[in-house]
Amino acid sequence: MNDVKRPIPRSDEPDTAAFWEGTKQKEFRYQQCNSCNTVVFYSRRHCTGCTDGELQWKTSAGTGSVYTFSVVRQSYHPFFRNLVPYVVAWIDMDEGPRILSNVTGVAPEDVSVGQKVQVEWEEHETLNIPLFKPV
């Protein structure tokens, strides 16, 4: 069995800590500017669209689509090498954020660009990881 754990994000990274805090409640949080409406993701303290806006936290419905993906068949990472073949993908959430994740619960050959997916939380002690499965 695979005793090595998936890399767990740090909860003390100043910009992204609030996103990971939200995953404890299985919430996919993102930010939107109350002035220029820019969707900001990954989370930051400043709006990248304007200099005077305030970022508001919002919660995604958890659905999106596969923007692009690859099936990893070779990895030397102590955790991921035991997972091959696995699917890495950029997921476009319906509200706008684009996140790098894995598509799971489906054979790699059944993953496609444009496929509708929804978040599937992988539970960990300190937080939860947003993976995706086909709708």
Partner: protein, 396 residues
């Protein structure tokens, strides 16, 4: 707009070994390459008054390398943007020389990636770092190849590009490598199997590493290094070899954006700056030295450099037109490229070196009467955050 005769490459050296078996350090590779490049130019250490360094020797880049070389330069530029650092350095050297800040600029590179068994090309990522983007990405296990593979997948989806078309990049590059004794030795030393010219079918039938990229679409992991000397027109006129003028330069970065297009790279921003400054067009290029970490890197960059329209790269590269002895397109990576000659991690310096060889008439796959070349470096990762440096070179 600056004059197109501000500065020229006057000295070059490519460190010949791709496997130093742990017996030479990156700093030693840099110093030996520098000495040979200065010798090539007919110059000496004491002539150097500007240092450009990506920090590959460790320490604080330009600070430590000045001490190691025993120099007291007036210009110290420690720009590090990965593999494209050297295209940035060349453009900055032109700018600094044109401004009268320096007369002789030295760029060096050294790496023992192969000896260190550093997994540049195929490894996983480490744990999360403190950059917020890293803290978002690391859990997904995106290997470096998967990063590029996702560009290829989207390119195929959006434009109908095929693996057979991507394979044209690999076969043209290998065609050139087989004519370059140093590339052949590199493949032998790195224990490539079945070293020969390849066919499209060889490439698409090689092992899948990260769909849709196959083994023969991925660069090697070598040791190596090199040096480039750039000088003012006054110095260049007295050098041993004909000057290779830096006619224009451009730089840019790109990173993941919500709703962004992963099939367009930062080259789409850097290339118009470079071609505009040089006053030439892609169609005039005899030589295209384009960073070939993977097949998809080159296809994307050729489009963004303006050789063809976005999305048409697949059909454009078909039919072997990128080979040095074919017409209809520039000769691509005539040294054998990162795919088949030299990739110690930051290949950008070799793009300048081989472009200069072509414009001097010294390449092992020499294009007759080559007059203009573009060198385009891509640093970082094409499918996420990367830097682009475009340099246009020309001879008298």
């Amino acid at each position: 707009m600056s004059s197109d005769r501000d500065a020229a490459i006057v000295g070059i050296h490519e460190y010949p070994s791709r496997d130093v078996e742990g017996e030479v350090s990156p700093l030693q590779i840099k110093a030996e390459s520098a000495a040979r490049a200065l010798e090539d130019a007919g110059l000496n250490w004491s002539d150097v008054d500007a240092i450009y360094d990506a920090g590959d020797g460790g320490g604080m880049g330009g600070l430590n390398i000045a001490e190691y070389f025993g120099l007291k330069p007036n210009v110290i530029d420690t720009t590090n943007v990965g593999g494209s650092s050297y295209e940035f350095h060349a453009a900055h050297a032109k700018r600094d020389i044109a401004a009268g800040k320096a007369k002789v600029a030295l760029l060096t590179y050294g790496s023992t990636a192969h000896s260190n068994a550093r997994a540049i090309g195929v490894g996983g990522r480490g744990g999360p770092g403190m950059h917020p983007a890293e803290n978002m990405d690391a859990f997904a296990g995106m290997t470096l190849i998967a990063n590029y593979a996702m560009v290829a997948r989207r390119h195929m989806h959006q434009y109908g590009t095929t693996s057979e078309q991507l394979a044209e990049i690999s076969t043209a590059t290998r065609y050139h490598a087989m004519r370059n004794p140093e590339a052949v030795k590199a493949m032998e030393d790195l224990e490539f199997l079945d070293i020969r010219e390849t066919t499209i079918s060889d490439v698409v039938n090689s092992r899948m590493i990260a769909d849709p990229l196959h083994l023969l679409e991925c660069c090697m992991i070598s040791d190596g290094g090199g040096a480039v000397v750039i000088a003012s027109p006054e110095v260049a006129r007295d050098c041993r070899k004909p000057p290779v003028w830096i006619l224009g330069g451009g730089e840019a970065t790109k990173y993941p954006e919500n709703g962004g297009d992963i099939t367009t790279s930062a080259a789409a921003q850097s290339a118009p700056q470079a071609f505009g400054e040089a006053g030439v067009t892609p169609a005039e290029m005899d030589i295209a030295m384009v960073y070939d970490s993977f097949s998809i890197t080159v296809l994307t960059l050729l489009e963004d450099l303006g050789f063809c329209k976005k999305g048409e790269g697949g059909s454009w590269v078909q039919g072997g037109k990128l080979r040095f002895d074919q017409s209809g397109g520039p000769a691509l990576n005539t040294d054998g490229g990162g795919l088949s000659s030299n990739h110690p991690g930051m290949r950008g310096i070799f793009l300048l070196i081989e472009a200069a060889r072509q414009l001097r008439g010294e390449s092992t796959s020499q294009v007759a009467d080559a007059r203009l070349a573009v060198a385009h470096g891509n640093g970082g990762m094409l499918g996420s955050r990367h830097a682009a440096g475009t340099v246009i070179l020309g001879r008298d």
